[in-house]
Amino acid sequence: MTDEVMARAVSGPGSSTSRRGPLLYSDVIRERWRRPRFRGDLPGASAVAEDVNPLCGDRVRLMLALADDRVAGARFVGDSCAICTASADVVAELVVGRSRVEALTVDAADVLAVLQADIRPTRMRCVTLPLSVLAAALKGKR
């Protein structure tokens, strides 16, 4: 690990050439940051959770409408960066229509597959915050 970082400092992507491959701010992230599809309040939500990323103070609140143990609707609000906002938007989209148990299986790989971005380790928490909020919402109130 240490050797890897040291080597990158000498020659790697952060060094002399521009970074190749997917960008940090992919088109999906830009689009969902500018126009999130699932942002807003959900009156009558039956499962709600909120959490804060202690590293940056980002806050995400996820609201789910559960009907017959299925996620009938999902919305989020929050103060968060583009990556976290896009992740919350994707999470909301992915869980709608799933059963509670199926919704719990949504993970970072699913979100990353939609985001199509080069998320570095320091920003992974931005992706995973909405997922931990989702888990809290689903496991919390019935």
Partner: protein
């Protein structure tokens, strides 16, 4: 010659290319970079002289002890302390403040008060929360005025006979506000309170003379002043240090030990339990030598010009908000700003894509963020190696940011 023209060749890290651009390092408030002399001094020490200090009766042990104690003398002169006994080495600012909260905390009684301020770094909040909570004492904070300076009238009101400790930053790590240390220390002394000053953002950037400040304690970190991580300084006024029971124990800090009691060592070792950061002390000596060669007056003048350039430039960009006292007043070498419609972390990431390193987030000052009504800010901060061109690069990239996402 401008200061940066003279210093830049001394900082090997400035040769780094980041994301295809020459590194523009504007995050010295979090941790500065080091000149080659500091890096080499520590390497030399490990390669030639390392052993444990104080207890070793052999040549290397003596060399290590000499180097470690020479660092103390160097610090004493650098900060204008009255004697070397007043200079205690710690692991950093956080460690120094914790040590003080633990040590002074033991003198607190139920109902006593500790007074901090709304602009403190978490390191100067949490240790006092722990200390007051443990003793049934009360923690209060001096509020800020809208211009980013402390409300000194409120300070007067909050300072009472019950106040045992007043702890505040010399320079804010977010707003750049320079607090009136001498005035506040003098008032605190009138009510018999100890004064603890967090100098993390001051010691690297301005000429210090502790004897003029009149505080009881002053703490700072080496890694923000061109020195290594892992070492800091706690200045303590001699009479006060002498009157205190150590808050932490271990080797080095004792003269004689029995199973149920011990006799404390002399100052300053009484407050330095365990093997100290020796190589780091050697590095700190080299850092101070470097700063003194430049002259702290020149350092101040150089960084003040950069800060003003950044403040005025950023304030002129549509959609950009800058925080803290106005550009024309004396400020520390930090500029916190927000860009409308962009999260501070995205601002920092977009700047990083251009090779520009700034800090973003709450800057370990959540109560201050709440007071400012923001989740966080981006922050550019300056050191001796930064140039007006680099500030110009920052301004140019920030001007394009609003359309970047």
């Amino acid at each position: 010659m401008r200061l940066d023209e003279r210093t830049r060749p001394d900082f090997p890290i400035l040769e780094r290319v980041v994301n295809g651009h020459p590194l523009v390092y504007l995050d010295s408030a979090a941790s500065s970079q080091r000149p080659r002399t500091v890096i080499e001094a520590m390497g030399q020490y490990y390669a030639r002289s390392h052993a444990n200090v104080h207890r070793s009766i052999h040549t290397l042990g003596e060399e290590a002890t000499e180097l470690y104690e020479a660092a103390r003398d160097r610090v004493q002169r650098f900060i204008g302390a009255g004697s070397r006994e007043e200079v205690v080495f710690t692991r950093g600012t956080t460690d120094g403040l914790s040590l003080l909260a633990e040590t002074l905390g033991r003198t607190l009684r139920a109902g006593d008060e500790v007074l901090i301020t709304e602009l403190e770094h978490h390191s100067n909040i949490i240790p006092w929360q722990l200390a007051t909570r443990d003793r049934g004492a009360v923690l209060k904070a001096v509020p800020l005025r809208d211009d980013g300076t402390l409300d000194l009238e409120a300070f007067e009101r909050l300072l009472t006979r019950r106040t045992r400790v007043v702890a505040f930053a010399h320079v804010s790590n977010v707003l750049g506000t320079i607090n009136p240390v001498a005035e506040m220390s003098a008032r605190a002394r009138q009510v018999g309170a100890f004064t603890v000053v967090d100098g993390a953002q001051a010691a690297p950037h301005l000429p210090l003379d502790i004897s003029l400040l009149g505080c009881d304690f002053y703490v700072f970190s080496a890694h923000k002043m061109l020195g290594p991580t892992g070492i800091g300084v706690l200045y303590g006024r001699r009479e006060v240090l002498e009157s205190l029971e150590p808050g932490r124990g271990g080797s080095e800090m004792i003269k004689e030990v029995w199973i149920d009691r011990a006799q404390w060592n002399d100052l300053p070792w009484r407050f330095e339990p365990g093997t100290p950061p020796i190589a780091e002390a050697v590095g700190l000596t080299a850092a101070i030598e470097y700063l003194e060669k430049l002259g702290m007056e020149r350092v101040l003048e150089h960084e003040r010009a950069l800060t003003r350039q950044a403040l005025e430039g950023l304030a002129a960009v549509p959609g950009v908000n800058v925080y803290g006292p106005p550009a024309r007043t004396d400020r520390g070498a930090v500029v916190a700003f927000t860009v409308a419609g962009l999260h501070p972390h995205d601002v920092a990431a977009l700047l990083d894509a251009e090779g520009i390193a700034v800090r973003a987030g709450h800057h370990c000052a959540m109560p201050l963020m709440r007071r400012l009504g923001v989740v966080g800010t981006s922050r550019a901060s300056f050191s001796v190696f930064n140039s007006p061109d680099e500030v110009g690069r920052l301004l140019a990239v920030v001007a394009e940011l609003r359309t970047a996402l």
